[in-house]
Amino acid sequence: MARIELSGINKSYGASRALRDLNLVVEDGEFFVLLGRTGAGKTTTLRMIAGLEKPDTGSVSIGDHDVSGWTAAERDVALVLQQYSLYPRLTVRGNLEFPLRAPGRKFSDAEIKARVEKAATTLQITHLLDRKVERLSGGEMQRVSIGRAIVRQPSVFLMDEPLSALDAKLRESLRVELKKLHSDLGATFLFVTHDQVEAMSMGDKIGVLRQGRLVQVGTPADIYERPLNTFVARSVGSPPMNLIDGRLSGGMADLGKFQLPVAANARGEGAVTFGIRPENVVLAPGAPGEARIFDIEDQGVVKILVMDMGDARLHVTVPAGTHVQRDEVVRFGWKADRVVTFDKESGANLALG
């Protein structure tokens, strides 16, 4: 059992408050992703669980134990960092053996060899075992770093932006491998990232952090379709959700120059902020909306249009085959049942309030 529970965590560094009353539960065997910008408190949260930082107030428990007073060595968690943190001057094998040969762990040489071989096979680094770590590429280093975590067979894996330093292609393939590793090992994974694509594609659950507060926790679908507020709405999706100020009355969204229908169950009245995902805006001749195309970004599968409505810009995803030109004036509508309404002042999702 390796359920992680943080309750009432506060942490300050001098005058700046890194975490404010953080409560977080990661269930046993879950792949949990903490998503947030730089300085949101993701890494601090992770280091708190690893035992590298002590919270000012609050408690940390792993499994059935309150580990608040335990050192990092006692907690038996594995940590993978963005900088790989491989031990210099050692071979890959030396690095993988390192935690197994540490004082306080008693493994026979045969056991160590077996575990190292197994980890190397899993991560496809068997051919690198006798190479010095200084001679590895970034992707290989990160594999070794993950390998060093798995040889110990810990019940909790903590990963601090492990893929951020890698190039895009490698990032994609390691993403898939990490998910597979998670399902093979059945351990609890806590993964920290600022990349919403990683969060959406890997997480069983996502926690969105903002300035030391946990804003929303939910499945990727929850976060994407039912964001708690405008901040979460803008945090996931690429391009993010469009937010347009307008007025809601009688089942119609009044956007100033034109009106668009919204679903009958839409909450709110008067001045609200409408949220619509780029893929839910539809170009159609004769539709009520009107905008001029400001920019076109061809991504192969789809085209992303930036449309100028006069006082606001709108991102729209259309199939790659759509023929449009820059500066062309187009007409558009939206899928009425996909419109989210937010409070204009607080940004809170009115449907969830």
Binding site: T71, A73, L81, F98, P99, P103
Partner: protein, 300 residues
């Protein structure tokens, strides 16, 4: 105005802009090269010539070419070999001491402690003193009847400098005191360059302090420590000032002291030039061995 500019010669325009490349060369490079030639290159070549003669700077007698005579005589002189043995022992004691004390101080300072900057600066002071001054006041510190060292260590009337066996150690201790800060300074730079996340990874991997030190700290600091050792060995080989002031014992007659006596008390200019060349070759050889190790340490 415009056609005044076009009528000016190119050189004049460059001068108007500031210093031209040519004048920079004349101002800075030529004096430097002249200086080097007069004070370094010429003596180097001239002393190589005198090494093969019986030249004495104290007489007006012409120098006679005697081939390898000086070298033959020097290398057959058991006293010279004794000077080399003493120097080797001195270098080993003082450099080893400096590495241990300096690296130890660096380890102690490489953590957040109050007044760290002030403490570091104070520790660097010995390095900035003149070696002759250091020799003079250590002579007082070592004094058997009123010296503060015997007083604090409760050694009574212990003879530091008059005892032929102890004198070399006493001279080495002064060198350690004076130059450990140098090793400390370089080690501090090396230590602060070790990424903190490596220690965190080791902590999570349950590595003990010894294991962490030998597996992470030492390998990463080794190259810069090696540089400190090279510098200190070369310098220790040349030790003269404080050793000359502290002790006149034959057991502390380092090669630099022997060389000085030979050149300026006995006026054997040709012979001492030959001796200086022998020392130069030894220092270059030792440095080369070190550099080889340094490259190995860096490559690993």
């Amino acid at each position: 105005m415009a056609d005044v500019m076009t009528r000016l010669e190119p050189d004049t325009r460059a001068a108007a802009r500031g210093l031209s490349d040519l004048s920079i060369r004349n101002l800075f490079i030529i004096p430097t090269i002249a200086f080097l030639i007069i004070f370094n290159v010429f003596p180097l070549i001239y002393s190589l010539y005198t090494a093969f003669t019986d030249y004495r700077a104290s007489t007006s007698a012409p120098a006679n070419w005697i081939g390898l005579g000086n070298f033959r005589e020097l290398l057959n002189d058991p006293n010279i070999w004794r000077n080399f043995t003493i120097t080797a022992k001195y270098v080993v004691i003082s450099v080893t001491g400096q590495v241990f004390v300096g690296f130890g101080l660096a380890m102690l300072l490489n953590r957040p402690i109050p007044l760290k900057g002030l403490i570091t600066t104070l520790l660097l002071l010995p390095m900035m003193l003149s070696p002759a001054v250091v020799g003079l006041f250590w002579k007082l510190l070592y004094d058997p009847s009123f010296g503060i060292i015997n007083f604090f260590l409760g050694l009574g009337k212990f003879e530091w400098l008059a005892d032929p066996q102890m004198a070399l150690w006493a001279v080495a201790i002064v060198d350690i005191w004076m130059w450990s800060p140098f090793v400390m300074l370089l080690s501090l730079a090396g230590l602060s360059a070790v990424p903190k996340h490596l220690y965190e990874a080791a902590e999570i991997d349950r590595a003990g302090p010894f294991y962490t030190f030998f597996r992470i700290t030492l390998p990463l600091v080794a190259p810069i420590l090696m540089i400190a050792i090279i510098f200190r060995t070369m310098e220790a080989f040349k030790t003269f000032d404080h050793a000359y002031i502290l002790s006149t014992q034959p057991t502390t007659e380092l090669i630099a002291i022997r060389l000085y006596k030979m050149a300026f008390l006995e006026w054997q200019t040709g012979m001492s030039s030959a001796f200086a060349y022998i020392v130069l070759i030894v220092v270059v050889a030792i440095t080369n061995i070190y550099v080889k190790y340094l490259n190995k340490a860096k490559a690993r």
